[in-house]
Structure formats: C-alpha cells, structure tokens
C-alpha cells in the first residue's frame, strides 16, 4: 500500500467530519438568520484570513515566538525538575507539593500580576505559557526515570555501574517516551498560556487580534485569528510527534 493510501485511510473520517461541520456552519448562517457578529459565515472568515487588512505576519510571528519560547522553557525546566525529583528523595519531598501548588493556581488570575511585575511583551507571555505547561513534563520525567524494569536495574548492578551511569544509560532512555508524551500536552499548554498573556496585555499577537476585533464586533477576524492559533498549535504538536518518532521509535503506539 502506498504511503498516501495509508494516510488517506487513517485520516478520511476526520476529513469527512470537518467537511460536515463546515457545511453545517454555512447552513446555520445562511438559513438560520444568525447575525454576522455572533457567528460569521465561513466565507467572511476566509476573506478575513486572506483579503482583509489585518497584517497577519507580525501577529503570527509574535505569538509563534512566544509559544516556542514557552515550550522550550517548560520542557527544559520540566526535565530538570523531573530529574531532580527522581534523583533525590529529599528534593522530591521538598519540590513535589510546591509544584502541585503552583500548578493548581489559576494562571488567568496571575496574569495581571505578571503585568505589574514584568510589564507586557514577549517574555511575560512566554513565562505564562511555560508556567501552564511545565508540570506534565516534571511528572512524566520523574515517572519515566523511576519506573524502570527491575531486570534492567539488576543488569546495571551486575556490572557494578555507578548511580549516575545507570541514570544516563538506563533511566533516561526509559523516560524518553514519557517525556515526549508530556510534551504533547505542553505544546497545547504553551499556546493557551501565550494567548492568556496576550489577553491581559499586549501590543501584537493573535490573542491581541482576537481581543481587539471581538470588542468591535468584527467577529470574522477573531475567528480567522483562532484558525491561525490552531495552525500554530497543530504545527508544534506535529513537531513533537515527529521528534517522538525520531528519538523514541520503539515507544510508538503509546497513544
């Protein structure tokens, strides 16, 4: 079977679903008499995307930059914390409750505080995204590093391997699929965080576009911005899936 045939077989149900939703949407607007500012027609959203006067380039760039930065930050910090927790029970006892606390804080409520402490712009939004997205990485890293098959650890002990060597040679490879799995969640969280940050204070970005056009009831542009946001989020998610395929192919089929 060709690659294309294989892909079509996998994705045709979703394409049908999307086509059906799009048709229903157009029908609802055309025959349901819904006001343009409540639910714009697919066509006006299309126009807003390609023929409108919004300069999408700068907004897409700003938000994408924030999302990638948030992702990298969350991944980096998350892995480091996960390693710390798995390495030392003392650190685990100290850090885990605190991290849980931080994670449960509603970030939307913290965002205005970020504005006061750090001002507005790219970096505070990156931090917001990282704050929302780091926790799954921490937990999954710690779990992946700890839940190793007993046989593998015994093998290490047989060869009198020091703790750090067992860590690097056995635990980390074991953890890789767990970490990559968490990063899929982090990809979405980074998007949410960046947009939340932009809602609170921003000068450019896709969240900025949504919030300013929505208030002037220019809903089709707001929808168009949502589409761009999904595109960026999907691209990032796809990148993580690709990374998983390249670095931990043995673990495919976890999700």
């Amino acid at each position: 079977m060709t690659k294309f045939a294989g892909l079509s077989r996998q994705y045709w149900p979703t394409l049908v679903l999307f086509a059906f939703l799009l048709a229903s949407w157009q029908a609802a607007v055309s025959f349901g008499g819904i006001r343009e500012y409540l639910l714009p027609a697919p066509l006006s959203v299309w126009n807003a995307l390609w023929h409108g006067d919004t300069s999408w380039g700068q907004h897409i760039w700003a938000t994408t930059f924030e999302i990638i930065g948030a992702f990298v930050l969350a991944a980096g910090v998350g892995v480091v914390l996960g390693v710390a927790i798995a390495w030392s029970p003392l650190l685990a006892n100290a850090l885990v409750p605190f991290l849980v606390f931080v994670n449960t804080l509603p970030k939307v409520a913290i965002a205005p505080l970020f504005l006061i402490w750090m001002g507005y712009g790219i970096f505070p939004n990156m931090l917001m995204g990282a704050l929302i997205g780091f926790f799954p990485v921490v937990i999954n890293t710690a779990v992946g590093l700890s839940q190793v098959e007993a046989d593998m650890l015994d093998l290490g002990r047989v060869f009198s391997a020091p703790k750090w060597k067992i860590f690097v040679k056995i635990r980390i490879p074991n953890a890789l699929p767990y970490i990559l799995s968490a990063l899929k969640i982090t990809a979405t969280a980074a998007v949410v965080g960046a947009i939340v940050g932009e809602f609170v204070a921003s000068q450019r970005g896709l969240g900025y576009v949504i919030v300013t056009t929505q208030s002037s009831m220019n809903t089709s542009v707001a929808f168009a911005s949502l589409i761009w946001i999904s595109a960026v989020g999907l691209a990032l998610y796809g990148a993580v899936v690709l990374a998983a395929h390249l670095w931990a192919p043995w673990a495919e089929g976890i999700d």
Binding site: R35, E36, Y37, L38, A111, P112, L115, I116, G119, Y120, E198, F199, V200, A201, S202, Q203, Y208, V211, T212, Q214, S215, S216, M217, N218
Partner: protein, 330 residues
C-alpha cells in the same frame, strides 16, 4: 356529575386565570461591575419605582459595552447600558439596538497619567504608550480626537490591556497613560496615591460626543413600548433622587450591592453627577437626547472608526420612549 365536574373545572380555571397584579419581567444589563453610575437603577428598584409601574426588574452585570449590547441585541436582556460610540459602531455590524436614553450629558472621555510623567495636553500623547481595554471608547474614537487637536496619531502607541489590569498598569508605570472615563479618578488615586493622578479630559479640548447611554432592543421597542417607557421614567426618577440626596442613595447602593466600596464609589458617583447637571438636562429633563449632538456623534463614528458600512443617525436612536423627569433644583 357532568355539571359538578364543569363547576369544579370552572372554579379551578378562574383561580388560575386571575393573577395578582401581573408584573412585567424586565432584565436590564448594566455595562460593568458595580460602579457609581449604576446606583440610580438600584435606587429605583429599592424605592419601588419599578414595582409601582408594574415592572419586575432584574439588574445584571456585564463585561463591557460590547457584552451588554450583545445581550440586548440577542434578547438575553430587554435593555442595557452601553457607550454610544460602541453602540453606533455595532449598528454597522448588524445589531438592531437603539439608544433610548442618555446618561452622561457631558463627555467623560479622558486619559489618566501619573504626575511623574504627566500627559496634560494633546501634544503630550505623541511618543507616549497608552493602554486601553478592548472596546474602550477612548481607543476607538481616538482618531477623531487626534484630528481635532493636531496630534500625529501614528506617534501614539496603543497597547491592549485587560480591564482589570488597567489601573495597575498606569500606577506601576508600565504604561504612560490609560484611557478611562474621568469618573474613574478615585480608583486611580487609590492605586497611585492622592495628588499623583493627572487627567486629560477630552471635553476640555473641544471634544464633544455622547458616551454612556441606555439602549433597548428592536424587540423591546416594538413589542413592549409602554414597559420600556415606564422603565426609563422610573430610572430617571432614581437619578433625580440621587441628585437630591447622594448620601442616602449611596446607602441604598451599598445595601443592595454589598461589595461596593463606599469610599471609592461616592466620589465616583459624584463625578458622574457632575456630567449630568448640565443646562440641557436642567431645561429638558434627565436623560434627554439632543438630536444635533447625537447625529454629530454618529458622524464622528462613521468618519473615524473604520466601519464596514455607514450608519444612519436616525437608525440608532429614538426619543419615543422619553418621559420628562425634572432635575431637582439645587
């Protein structure tokens, strides 16, 4: 047997069919969380003005003019409070609400800044960073103000900011200024310190435009005109009572909305009253809409807010529901 059943049925029917004085349900969407210029409606409610006219009024909060306009337009509310500029602009996007009563007669549009870097005259705005929540009237109609005062609008940087964060943004010097109604002064002074807040009131620089107004949906206007008229009259009576005795009014406000900070809201409310105690209202009654000012406001919006289509003045307001309520003489 048949006769007895029909008598019982008739009695039951009669019991159900004679309701006690049927109160008309009426939902009024306020434009924000409790602020000083909402007190009038709570006063009218508390003193039974609505009830006396057969209205069972529910007052609910909203998240800005855009939200209250949408509520009224879709029927979730029968009438509401909204900024006139936003109302006019929304008409270009397909809403069918109309301005049926006016709140502030003088324009409260203003820019707050700090004493450390004061923005006192229009030219100061060039090179400044200003924060404005989405849908903010200062932001949306700024091109008109800029043209009137010879400001190069491209040299003014506007930053989107969440309404909840705007006061903190300027108090913490994250921005040079914030667009907000002049009635907000007490709140800014609380955050930045008394004597630290500088205002640039647009009315002082020749800008005259309608702002906070009462709107109603096409449906309410068509199907329940008497109810709408009664609501407006009772509301203006509430305003009248506030003008006559602001202190008592604030007590009622606090009683009805416990989360109101009386210390902040009293000056806030009094500033609002200052915008209503005009000759025009004194002569024509509270809430009077002046045709020329209304159409001038529509023209400003048409010219400067980049609407998809032109809005006709007569399509966005109506004086049909107006009842004269005299301002108290003081």
């Amino acid at each position: 047997m048949f006769r007895r059943t029909s008598i019982i049925l008739a009695a039951a029917f009669a019991a159900v069919a004679t309701p006690a004085a049927a109160q008309e349900k009426f939902t009024f969407a306020l434009n924000w969380f409790a602020v000083g210029d909402h007190a009038a409606y709570w006063v009218a409610l508390d003193k039974g003005y609505y009830k006396a006219k057969g209205l069972d009024v529910t007052l609910e909060n909203s998240k800005g003019s855009g939200d209250s306009i949408a509520k009224v337009d879709t029927g979730r509310a029968d009438a509401g409070l909204a900024d006139a500029a936003v109302v006019i602009a929304s008409a270009a996007r397909g809403t069918t609400v109309k301005v049926v009563g006016m709140v502030f007669d003088k324009t409260p549009l203003n820019i707050f800044s700090l004493k450390s870097k004061p923005l006192t005259k229009p030219k100061d705005l060039e090179g400044a960073t200003l924060g404005a929540p989405p849908g903010d009237s200062q932001r949306q109609i700024f091109p008109a103000f800029a043209k009137l005062n010879g400001i190069d609008a491209s040299k003014v940087t506007w930053v989107n900011i969440e309404p909840a964060a705007k006061i903190a943004a300027v108090a913490e010097k994250r921005m040079d200024g914030v667009g907000d109604y002049s009635t907000g002064l007490p709140l800014y002074e609380k955050a930045a310190g008394k004597g630290n807040v500088v205002m640039m009131q647009w009315a002082d620089f020749g800008f005259d435009m309608y702002s906070m107004s009462i709107i109603a949906s096409a449906k309410t206007m068509k199907e329940r005109p008497q109810v709408l008229k009664a609501f407006l009259e009772a509301s203006y009576m509430g305003w009248r009572d506030i003008m006559a005795d602001p202190k008592a009014a604030m007590e009622i406000f606090k009683k009805r909305v416990p989360e109101v900070d009386v210390e902040l809201m009293t000056p806030n409310m009094l500033l609002g009253l200052g915008l209503m105690k005009t000759d025009r209202y004194a002569k024509n009654g509270i809430g009077f809409i002046d045709d020329k000012k209304m159409c001038d406001s529509v023209e400003l919006v048409n010219t400067y807010m980049g609407l998809p289509k032109k809005v006709e003045c007569k399509d966005v307001y109506s004086k049909d529901f107006y009842t004269l309520v005299q301002m108290p003489k003081n």
